[in-house]
């Protein structure tokens, strides 16, 4: 069935609501409006305002009350309207949601999914294009996921909600309107690729590109252009940012000997640094060149007219590929 990324998420949320009466959606404007990106479209109409809850406008309140509901056996799915709005909820997420299982020696679970539209590329105003994933990947107790395709959006949101661990679920907002043919029946049957596994989405032999979320499509474009120029690039979609599937990356690097990591977030102390360090440790004797990173600059997210320079594009990725191939 042809669906958009947002539509696939909507279907995933609908199935989760159908499957488990303890699943409850909560957030700002998710009811009659269906969310500002329409991801929860029609769900309140079909499941009622006790299952799809319009909350007061307060992010700490959304996550903090979700935490209390989880203590009573619910599985809340919170929507944070935009990436830059999650910071007021940061304490609730890192101090309570992330730590309760450890704090209570496993006696209390917090099966909360926190959906956050993230990243840029849609010409938005300040606080609407950020990539805060490193804060959350750095926090033990949280899982961090980000799908890059409609099929993954469907299967990964369902896996996230089913998990007994809290999940920060980043949705690359510039992919909301991407369309694809999704085989929901097959995904329902086999559950899809486990969310903690990376996927090799283009095979190649000369260099490996690791990407996630909004930059996967960019990396695939770069690989296509490189192919036309005679270079064979392997592209890996991480899917899970905590944990990271280093095995899949290491296998690829053992084959290609070269690694470029790309993400929208600022490079300094970003996930690319972690991947570079771990892969250098694991694949030191396979690497033909230093691991390179192509990311956002170490600046606040810039105004819309500047974001095209800030976001990694195929040209910047290919420039890094050229450097690694030349080494």
């Amino acid at each position: 069935m042809i669906t958009t990324f947002a539509g696939a998420l909507n279907t995933g949320l609908r199935r989760a609501l159908e499957d488990d009466p303890k699943v409850i959606l909560m957030g700002e404007d998710i009811g009659r409006l269906g969310g500002v990106f329409r991801v929860t479209d029609a769900l309140q109409k079909d499941f009622g305002n006790n299952r799809v809850v319009d909350t007061p406008l307060a992010e700490s309140g959304i996550v903090g009350t979700a935490f209390g509901m989880a203590l009573r056996g619910y599985r809340p799915v919170c929507e944070i309207q935009f990436d830059g709005f999650v910071y007021p909820a940061f304490d609730q997420i890192v101090s309570h949601v992330a730590k309760i299982h450890y704090r209570t020696q496993g006696k209390v679970h917090a099966p909360i999914t926190i959906r956050i539209p993230f990243g840029g590329g849609i010409g938005s105003v300040e606080h609407h294009s950020e990539s805060p994933e490193a804060y959350f990947a750095h926090t033990a107790g949280l899982r961090v996921m980000t799908p890059s395709t409609p099929a993954d959006a469907y299967s990964m949101i369902r896996q996230a909600i089913a998990l007994d661990d809290p999940v920060i679920f980043f949705e690359p907002k510039r992919r909301y309107w991407d369309k694809a043919d999704v085989d929901f029946v097959a995904l329902d049957r086999d559950g899809g690729l486990p969310a903690d596994r990376a996927r090799v989405c283009a095979t190649g032999t000369d260099a490996t590109i690791v990407a996630y979320g909004g930059t996967v499509a960019t990396a695939l474009s770069a690989a296509k252009i490189a192919g036309e120029e005679g270079h064979s690039l392997e592209v890996i979609d991480l899917r899970s940012l905590s944990p990271i599937d280093f095995d899949t990356i290491a296998e690829s690097v053992a084959k290609t000997g070269r690694l470029v990591i790309t993400h929208e977030a600022p490079v300094f102390a970003g996930l690319g640094a972690e991947i570079a360090a771990r892969i250098t440790e694991r694949c030191f004797y396979y690497l033909e060149a230093p691991v390179l990173r192509v990311g956002g600059f170490d600046i606040p997210y810039p105004p819309a007219k500047l974001e095209k320079f800030h976001l990694p594009d195929p040209d910047r990725i290919l420039a890094a590929v050229d450097r690694t191939l030349a080494a």
């Binding site: 007061p56 903090g64 009350t65 304490d91 450890y102 209570t104 496993g106 107790g141 944990p243 280093f246």
Partner: protein
Amino acid sequence: MPDKVEYPVQLVQPDGRRVLDREHAALVADVGPELLRKMYEDMVVTRRIDTEATALQRQGQLGLWAPLLGQEATQVGSAHALYPDDYVFCSYREAAVAYCRGVNPSEITRLWRGVAHSCWDPSAVNMTNPNIIVGSQGLHATGYAYAAHLDGAEIATIAYFGDGASSQGDIAEALGFASSWSAPVVFLCQNNHWAISEPVRVQSQTPIVRRAYGYGIPGVQVDGNDALAVLAVTRQAVARARSGGGPSFIEAITYRMGPHTTADDPTRYRSSAETEQWARRDPIDRLRRLLERESLFDSSFQRSVADRADEVARQVRTSTIEMPDPGPMDLFEHVYAAPHALITEERRAYAEYLAGDPSEAAARPEGVPS
């Protein structure tokens, strides 16, 4: 609940005489000798737990302790208004509430000894573990109360927090959510006058309870050193919650007679005159005077209370000292509910390191891909 900001509810005067308050006395009209004596015993026992834990900290057996000295009436009085199926969200000073909820005294010091981040099993007593981040539990309680409401459960959820926490945004957000959702939650602010070194006037220039009115939540101020009055107003709030009446706010005016924690030195920021003034309003003395006036306090009762306090103190001391230290591999337990590759890898590598594997590779992630 009426606005009684200027006149906190009081049912027992400091000298033990009853106060004529038709509305609130009616709420505790059924409280006879047995319950009065039980509350007195619980206050004495929890003061003894507090004294014992403070001593254990001084002796190096606990890393820290947050004394509740002076707040026994607020905690014991309110706890006796709750039913077993009600749910308590606490801060970190509610050892007396925990004791009244049926927490085994031998579990009360576990967090403070540093062997775990928690003390008891929350589901066993319907009470969360000490919450160190002040104010966040107001939201947790509101969410729990809302969930209980969705379940159709006729219970109350209560959140304990202090005057300092009342300044936190989470308490404000909790009041907003509770009001918006008509959540069956009771906010109980223990205004003990001091947030570490900051007097309550730094937190608020108006009575804290007035904040609730702005959210459309009824509130009441109560003499927090009067266990009977606290019992009365908490019963009222709990009944309101259980019957679908929505949230309530109680500001209990009490005093933290000891330090904020065992690491604190209150002589640096408050006068001995102030402390002495509040000592004269000691909540335990007050209830004892009431019992004496009503011929409910005799030597055999006094003896039985002292015996119970001794027994519990011995239990706290013994269990604290005998708590085994966790082992190094416990570091990695329960970070996640389901296996997580990073934790699995670090656990394996550290186990090999501890086993004394001489190869350098053992402490590193697996060498090369297979």
